[in-house]
Symmetry: C2
Subunit: 490 residues, 2 copies
């Protein structure tokens, strides 16, 4: 069964469509599932749908199950009528409560049956959210328990309801990868990556990138991937580039309650704002001083609306970037919001080879936007594919300048890619826009490309004409390559 | 006479208040002056005021002067009634037409008198907009002509009307600086930096940064600086960080006419958009597909409104960043929009010493957000101020680790700043947030700080305990410093 289709890739980022049969809707991804608390609705679900275009939301079936007021209405009216929402509704199982309080009073079978009874469109088993940094043995044991529950869930008849298969494994990449691979074998439909909230709360974006990359290795390209509890718009681009399709967030509401204001660069306190750094309807119609004077409920409502506008705005920005093929340029920009985000971006690029596998072969133009750009998947791919070209010349000139008849063959050289056959000059990514003030990282990546090409052709004699490369780059070029400075020749 | 007050600095960026006596308003800066074409008003000035909060706009007095339909109404009703705008109105003089068509039929005296008659709040003489890259002789000659006109303008009685003093000089930094210094001596009120549009049209942001920095050296902190014709929000942060206070733009309207859509990361064609990467009222209420189906006038109106929303949104973002003291972090993020913007940012940082002079001494936290951060004014200042500390110890330990009693004195070391007296550890900028994955640029800047400190104390013996610094950094440390690797010691 395939209920998820990818329309377009950029790095590991995907524009997808998730078919939710029970709701009769197709959800465009990446997207965010606003968390709706069944008891307290900061923004009511009808408004989420009408004003923000929400196609899907998430609520907690465990709270409904345990509520004297809401359990019966949920069963008799069904979730959609109870909440007043016609899109897709995903339900969480109580795993969060299990992690917080150590114990809950339902089994996977009970809660999935209840979710089905109340009309949930995507149900969730009771997995064990193993926190970061626990002992390996505990992470292994809990992963096994989670997998058993997923298998029991898969064996149940849940009708048209999709069922999610959370992936655990703490901060052990190999356990995450294995958990993902086994979750995939269950045939379940949606893959939440669990227990990542503690990483995000501590700004551990580098660890988050490693965890997501590990899970994705296990999952391959199966099904939509849900970054459970990720609701801050500052990290949507990065998570999407790693291959996450769904986010969920109570942040818009929780933060509003504390007078906190979301931006794609971080979180601000309303008290610290003199101007709203935003053009959403709330921020164009009010000033921070005006908002501070309002009564608490109105202020909370307006802040929650701002938080949702910036959240959905970033989701659209991510989608448009995938469409345009410049998602990594967006990640690059967002990485400047906090030094730990830069750590996350640098770690994401450690996985460039993995991201390269789904990255599309041609896009509009590669923008060299930072020293980090030298490590992008396109550079990795260019180096990997150097083995596709035959060279039967005895002498080859690799040059940033013009051809020279004294050599049997001339290749171009472009930092950060390195050497390329001249007939490819007008193809992606060699049509790159690079700054005039190039940096060492670009020259060094180009030198690595030279080294790779030279290694592939042990019997060929190479000359590299470079335009004032720094020593750190030249030292990466194999010794047998003759070096000339472009301007020294003139 | 001082009609401009700076409330707060960040780098050379300023939160200011421009008192416009004739309009009876005080304009908060940085801000944008929407260009209103007297003949065709895409968004009418009353809406600019009511919906977008425009406190000031700019229109062209030369067009009014030469218009059979508008000249008389402008004279009889006055500009404010003619346009329906109660804020401040600045008028251009026809210099743009002079640059475009080579000749105009008014003198500085005539057009300034006309501007005053029609009730302009800020008038402009007829300067000569010298394009980039012209021969130096021409740039010199035209600069002199412009200066003569400024002096004639300054000699006129223009009542309460403020008068601007455009600064020319093509792409010659020394001419720009001199033009600025002489413009300042006229005592005129507002300083437009002229003929920069060709630089922006060609994405020459590095040259733009050099031109602005040169003009600012000549102007000092006198009066508001207007980046004439700068209307793309992608460069507001950078220009503001260099010390520009006013921008003006017809881009919102001109681009809308061509179905072009502004973002802080560049310009998009409506035809290429599947999602609006924005949360403004237009973009939350419509999809690109919907907009494409509308009739041309409605589409143009909505695109112009989006363009204005994103423009004013970015102005507020810049203001809030100056307030919060993180303007350079914003520039860093915006620099990732295009490789030429990165060139601009790197060039801006060439002027770090100049920017440092007005930068405030304490802010919330320094974020190390990119390799470029190693060259920020705070790093330059830290190095410059190392001469403020006396050392009478014979042996000094500079260390990324803990103290050691074997040395007379112990200093801390923090990339990118370098050595610091330990009692300053909790002060700005040493409270910096730096990524775990630090880069060579940070270590090298720290090494430069070590070199500077060591040069100041020729009789002291220094030991540097570093945490695995790369060779490129260690090679910048003077030879007489004993080196130890932090982990090699353990």
């Amino acid at each position: 069964m395939t209920n998820f289709e990818v329309r377009e890739y950029d790095a590991a980022g995907r524009l997808g469509e998730l078919d939710v049969p029970r709701a009769g809707v197709t959800v465009s991804t990446p997207t965010i599932l606003p968390v709706v608390n069944p008891h307290v609705q900061t923004i009511d679900p009808a408004a989420l749908e009408a004003e923000f275009g929400a196609e899907i939301l998430i609520t907690n079936s465990y709270i409904l199950h345990g509520s004297d007021q809401l359990r019966e209405p949920a069963l008799s009216e069904g979730l959609h009528d109870l909440l007043g929402f016609s899109g897709a509704i995903m339900t969480d199982s109580g795993s969060f409560q299990l992690a917080e309080y150590g114990d809950i009073d339902v089994t996977t079978e009970e809660i999935l049956a209840f979710q089905q009874e109340i009309g949930s469109d995507i149900g969730t088993p009771v997995d064990i959210p193993t926190p970061p940094d626990v002992e390996r043995e505990r992470a292994e044991r809990e992963r096994e328990t989670t997998q058993e529950r997923l298998e029991r869930a898969a064996a149940m008849d849940t009708g048209e309801m999709l069922v999610s298969a959370p992936v655990q494994g703490s901060t052990y990449p190999d356990l995450r990868e294995r958990a993902a691979r086994e979750a995939k074998t269950t045939g379940l439909d949606v893959f939440p990556l669990g227990a990542v909230v503690p990483l995000m709360n501590e700004y551990r974006y580098a660890d988050l990138a490693d965890v997501v990359a590990a899970c994705k290795r296990g999952l391959g390209e199966t099904g939509p991937v849900h970054l459970f509890g990720a609701g801050h718009p500052m990290m949507f681009a990065m998570a999407a580039a790693l291959g996450c399709d769904l986010f969920d967030s109570a942040a818009y509401a929780l933060y509003a309650r504390d007078d906190r204001y979301l931006t794609v660069r971080g979180t601000e306190l309303l008290a610290d704002l003199e101007q709203f750094p935003c053009q959403c309807p709330v921020c164009t119609e009010h000033t921070p001083a005006e908002l501070r004077k309002l009564d608490e409920d109105t202020r909370e409502d307006l802040l929650a609306r701002h938080n949702l506008h910036v959240t959905y705005g970033e989701i659209r920005t991510v989608r448009q970037a995938i469409r345009a093929g410049n998602l990594l340029e967006l990640v690059d920009s967002r990485a400047r919001g906090h030094p730990t985000m830069l750590d996350g971006y640098r770690t994401l690029l450690d996985h460039a080879e993995q991201l390269e596998r789904t990255d599309r072969v041609s896009k509009d133009a590669f923008f060299y936007a930072s020293t980090e750009s030298a490590h992008r998947p396109e550079v990795v791919r260019h180096h990997e594919r150097l083995d596709r070209f035959d060279i039967d010349a005895e002498t080859v000139l690799l040059t940033e300048g013009g051809s020279n008849d004294r050599y049997d063959e001339t290749w171009g050289v472009l930092p950060p890619f390195g050497p390329y056959p001249r007939e490819l000059a007008e193809t992606y990514p060699l049509t790159a826009e690079v700054p005039d003030r190039t940096d060492r990282a670009a020259y060094e990546a180009a030198a690595d490309g030279v080294a790779r090409l030279v290694a592939l052709h042990p019997d060929t004699s190479f000359t590299l004409v470079h335009d004032d490369w720094p020593e750190t780059a030249l030292s990466r070029v194999p010794e047998r390559v003759r070096l000339q400075d472009l301007h020294a020749r003139e």
